[in-house]
Point group: C2
């Protein structure tokens, strides 16, 4: 097994860059703080991580993250930035997601030599394909389960986030179904609390979805939030499946890699990945993980959908980051000889017909789930008007017709353009 | 169920502090970006998170984390800092660790209103005790399993980190056992790679530990790193137990909350929690999570030991943070009426006899695992000398005898003081 794992980092250090990169490689493989006699050259050659490249960037005069007080004399107001690529022999750890995480995103974040260290990207050998099944449904399977053959799935989130009883939730679901929605999801805060137990929600909601499917042939996809302990998730998954559901949702950071992997191996429906807590990884340029690296682990673990925010969203993420993330989800994970493990990006947060044209122009396709809250609920034509306005906006975008022209003959779109500027 | 979950945060925002805190509370409970008609006052009263207090701190003129470009006009060079306490009705989520994580450490990290947001501490209702068994062995059980009735467990980590075969690892273990060690752990990078499969390691190591136990009555505790997927961990746990092992180790961040909880429910031996990746939570003062909040979730999940670095360690953590973390591990998690869920702190990284007196003085007890690499291996008297020097240093510290005086009659300690300054 001669395959290697590659990872790219942004670093900042008061030390010599070559030295600092070697510290990272050493700490994360055969080395320790002091070179031991037992770390022979042969062992190091076979199992040491390798510094593949160092691309120097600017020098700054203040550390971006606090450094230990006793290191101040070393620093002397010169903090060197660089992009560093490090590689590991797969033989050290094998194709294991938790151990990959310990290797590329473990102790190195704590190394005293660095005043910034962020994991930017990962390149993995195809042995991971044999070890992890990846997404079970992805775009094609999600389209099949939901009956939406083209265009994005138009979706929404049950709001208020928490506080509705199962019966109140079902009332809202009924209105959404009648309004023509394709996809509905629980809020990430609504899983299995005493006020709205998962099974009671399934009991209240699925008969409505099933009845509508029998009547019309269209089965609305409802992502039930089953985030919880392992046995609980397994039981709730089975309950959703038995009731005819087509999707379960998990808060991936909260459940963790091993839990999501286990759920995927058991799962019979689409697995919707919510990334609550993502800001902890993404908000600082100086510590954490870029989406490029982050989402690859979850694709391997096997989610079918991942959230990416949306253009002009209500969070802190910039538009170019949103689009880069969505593109990443749609890019094959390995070479052409392996399954592509692509997943559907989920656009959400402050979305309405107003962002559709720009989203399509930036992404170039409709293989996505487009979730709107106010963009549907606050439409002057009600839920049906909101959903129609979104379909019209996507139709215009895909056809290359200007939204203003298209709105002349599509009232709901015109109303949306008036309401959501 | 009227119990509430409390969380404290450090925040920084260009918005009015009262408004910003309400945004946090709203986003993480019944609210969404726009107040919906369905979020009635009654619902909000029953399920909304509540801002319990705001303690104003300084105002700074630059944002600590980058804010979205379009918010620059709002900011106007006044970023207000504060400590905020928010509480949630337990009824929203129930005593569920993954959903606790989504609630107190979820979307709020992404809120555009904040240029810093760090979770500082958590206070949980005792319903979590009924839902999670917590540590199975803790200090008392670890002492029973290892036969070390008083004083710290003197431990070490197998190094090189990766690269040794199972046979080479066993050779080292043999020397360590003969040297009088109490505790040995795998490196966090050494789990079940092709070069040193877990089962082969168990096969090579446990006969040595068992033979020594039969000869002397002392069973050295070996923390086998079984981090991996759920079924793999379960199988490896069973293999360790069948071979007579007394401890398994997991990289808790890499495995995740649901996985560690599941392992704990199955576990028959001490569960050693390694926090590889901890720097991602801790290194920035402006995003992430303090140990106070972090370790409570893992104690509930059920680890028996958690790493805390050590005084004058080789990482970026300051000494006061190390001691605060160790004390936190030893502080009861709930009131006097509940089990205390205390865990053993694991001191590690650059430790030797040189830090013992200060560690004891700061902590005031010996309920800990004290891991040394070079502090044992590089001792002039070899492994036995290193281990002896550590026991002597702890004996002096506990007896209140000055190390220099004690070293006059204890050669190994004298050597250590000469070697590790």
């Amino acid at each position: 097994m001669s395959a290697r794992i590659h990872a790219r980092y942004f670093i900042e250090t008061p030390y010599d860059l070559e030295h600092a990169a070697q510290v990272m490689a050493g700490e994360q493989s055969s080395g320790t703080f002091t070179r031991l006699a037992s770390e022979t050259d042969t062992l190091r050659e076979a199992h040491g991580a390798r510094v593949e490249s160092i691309q120097r960037l600017e020098v700054v005069d203040q550390p971006s993250l606090p450094m230990r007080a006793d290191l101040a004399p070393i620093a002397a107001h010169r903090y060197r930035r660089a992009l560093v690529e490090i590689s590991w022999p797969l033989e050290n750890l094998g194709p294991s997601l938790p151990n990959l995480s310990s290797t590329v995103a473990g102790n190195l974040f704590e190394l005293k030599e660095f005043s910034a260290l962020k994991l930017l990207d990962l390149e993995l050998p195809s042995a991971f394909v044999d070890a992890y099944p990846g997404p079970q449904f992805g775009t094609t399977g999600t389209r099949r389960l939901s009956g939406i053959e083209s265009g994005p799935l138009i979706g929404t989130i049950i709001k208020p986030s928490v506080g509705l009883t199962p019966a109140q939730t079902a009332e809202m679901v009924e209105q959404l179904i009648e309004g023509g929605i394709d996809f509905i999801k629980d809020d990430e805060l609504q899983a299995n609390g005493p006020h709205s137990p998962l099974k009671a929600r399934v009991d209240a909601i699925m008969p409505l979805i099933n009845a509508h499917a029998e009547r019309t042939g269209k089965k609305v996809m409802y992502a039930f939030n089953i985030s919880g302990d392992i046995d609980e998730m397994r039981g709730h998954h089975d309950y959703v499946v038995a009731a005819g559901g087509t999707c379960v949702m998990v808060a991936i950071n909260s459940v963790g890699l091993a839990g999501v992997t286990q759920l995927r191996r058991h799962c019979q429906v689409a697995l919707h990945g919510h990334r609550a807590g993502w800001g902890l990884y993404s908000r600082s340029p100086h510590i954490g993980m870029d989406f490029s690296a982050y989402h690859k682990m979850w694709r391997l673990a096997g989610v079918d959908h991942i959230h990416v925010n949306g253009l002009r969203n209500k969070f802190s993420e910039e538009d170019d980051s949103v689009i880069a993330s969505a593109r990443a989800c749609q890019t094959p994970l390995f070479g052409a000889s392996a399954p592509d493990y692509t997943v559907m990006p989920v656009f959400s947060s402050g979305q309405s017909a107003a962002q559709v044209a720009d989203t399509h122009a930036a992404l170039g396709n409709t293989d996505l789930i487009y979730c709107c809250g106010g963009g549907i609920m606050a439409h002057p034509g009600g839920i049906a008007g909101g959903v129609a306005s979104l379909r019209q906006a996507w139709e215009a975008a895909v056809s290359g017709v200007d939204l203003i022209d298209f709105a002349r003959e599509h009232r709901e779109l015109a109303q949306a353009m008036e309401t959501f500027r």
